[in-house]
Symmetry: C2
Subunit: 353 residues, 2 copies
């Protein structure tokens, strides 16, 4: 059961009657080796099941790992996007001793052009790996094309894009989040009462994961209570001033018994409901922000569905390090937990604020 000693380049060289330089050329396809020698060495490498010592390799090559990060700018000091950034900073600081550095770029959440500009700046810094939240699907896809052209590996967080060649995705299974929200809301609201799904600032190809949450929500009801009446309404974030009035009008018009807010903007809804005559509306939203927690505590919001955003940032950096420095295999899809926060278990999440 004891594993045999490590095979070194030196062992391959000796067995092949060549120098370690030649073995190295074969290992890294650096050319300048005769076909015959190459074949022979390759066979020996295979036979002896050679595995490079990555500590030695990294040490000798003195490679530094420069990462590029591209995320939405937080909308406030305790907005959602401060959290992944915190995780990223923590990971980078830990890995500093291994030569890891990061350039963090943030873009305006309402401005695809700003995304493109920051993406260009990121590229010109020539990073060895990238962490990306593909907030604008179309623009992100174009950016990814450039990354692939430059053979720059990248990790997606928060929202996934299918089959784009990402090293990994780290984030929620948003469809499942929607399903769970539906199930929870169905338990809180009597059959026959209306449900409302609220999107903030959704656009067709933007923030795909909010759409996935909605789809999961509908899918659950279609399967379990096909009769359930559900409506979806969208509110542009830019109109935030008129937002309260619109919301109030919506409540009067629809008289929903339950509301599912697909994003962290649930506090906007809760504020209106709490100040209105419409008591007893059951509300589920996303993300553990201070503003949301307030309404969870007061009982206006019943559930917050969370996803450990700090951890997502942290793990994204770790994944790049593990792949690029340690050469370890990376799991492609990494679903963050879908955590259910209620007034009762809130205190166990104080770590998040």
């Amino acid at each position: 059961m004891e594993s045999s000693k490590q095979i070194r380049i030196k062992d391959i060289a000796r067995k092949g009657n060549v120098s370690i330089g030649t073995v190295d050329r074969v290992l890294h396809n650096r050319g300048e080796v005769s076909g015959e020698t190459r074949e022979r060495i390759l066979r020996i490498i295979e036979e002896m099941d050679y595995r490079p010592n990555l500590l030695a390799s990294t040490l000798a090559s003195r490679k530094k790992l420069k990462m590029g990060v591209l995320l939405p700018a937080p909308l406030s000091t305790d907005g959602y996007w401060t959290q992944p950034v915190e995780g990223i900073r923590k990971a980078v600081s830990e890995l500093h001793q291994y030569g890891v550095t990061a350039d963090i770029f943030t873009f305006d959440q309402s401005d695809p052009d700003d995304f493109n500009g920051k993406a260009a700046r990121l590229l010109s810094a020539a990073p060895d790996g990238v962490v990306l939240a593909p907030f604008f699907a179309r623009e992100a896809t174009a950016f990814i094309t450039s990354l692939k052209a430059g053979h720059i590996p990248f990790v997606l967080i928060d929202s996934n894009l299918p089959e784009q060649g990402q090293l990994a995705y780290i984030g929620q299974n948003s469809f499942q989040c929607g399903q769970l929200s539906a199930r929870l809301l169905s338990m809180l609201v009597r059959a026959g009462q209306k449900m409302l799904v609220l999107h903030f600032a959704r656009e067709t190809d933007h923030q795909n994961h909010l759409l996935q949450r909605e789809l999961g929500f509908y899918a659950w009801f279609r399967e379990n209570y096909p009769e359930q009446e559900i409506k979806t309404r969208e509110m542009a974030l830019s109109e935030q001033a008129s937002c309260e009035a619109r919301l109030l009008a919506l409540l009067e018009e629809e008289e929903p018994a339950g509301i599912f807010v697909t994003s962290s903007k649930v506090h906007l809804v809760a504020r209106v409901v709490e100040g209105s005559a419409f008591k007893g509306i059951r509300i589920i939203g996303n993300d553990l922000l201070r503003e949301n927690v307030r309404f969870l505590r007061s009982g206006t919001v019943d559930f917050l569905i969370c996803q450990r955003p700090m951890e997502q940032g942290f793990e994204a950096v770790q994944a790049l390090f593990r792949s690029l420095v340690l050469k370890l295999p990376i799991t492609e899809v990494n679903y963050s937990p879908i955590e259910i926060i209620t007034r009762e278990n809130l205190d166990y999440y104080k770590e998040f604020k």
Copy 2:
């Protein structure tokens, strides 16, 4: 913003007018250095903010990391405990190239003496780090005393022990799991109906986390529905033959509307309920085992609460590696997600079977 170049031992030595050997002695408290020199070098190290290059250090010292693992033996081929073992094996295999090996010991879940015997064998293998599931609290504590005497760092998984000097705990917040189960069950059962908490093979100091789940369950009701009638019943696993009869008798006697099974043994209960005249009993249990999934699919079990046991095993090994080889800081308490599996989102967990 560019961080300055790395400070090396050589730089310290030059500045202190000593050799790198002396610096090394100071760094590792190897003695044989005059007090005066020691102070001076220490000051320079501080001043220059020296951080050792751990790749070089690990490479030069050629340390191998031998881990000892001590877990309950799985009760069946797809029993719960196969899963952490799988995660551990995966991590060890990935880290093999860095000299990581593991001796895995398993003990009989009903036999504390077997635990002690295996613990002794583990110790005699002189591991550099240990992964332990402290299944028998008393025996585990004694074992930990030996580990601490030998300065062997250890990671706890599955169940935590407070303040035992563990490098990390990786597992559920069991109290919170109980609270969430209570909240879910309360939404499924009408007020005034009876609830039952079922333990399997609990003993006072065994499996502390099952007790924590129960406490969380009671705490939630005390806070939210103090009138709720709840009873706890315990079933010894050794009596598994007579188990069905006892369960049936229990159902007849108590006529519960909801049952919370604190462990993965929920399939035992579901089988009895499904074969009985007592339809409509709402059941919540733990862990994604094939036997449990069957009853989730058939609708007899409403929710399974899960905790990613494979990931726990994997992370435990990674934590030891990160600490002992990479010298990275380790978060002491790492709560696994409390995942809610229903018939509807089950397919997203196929990865677990």
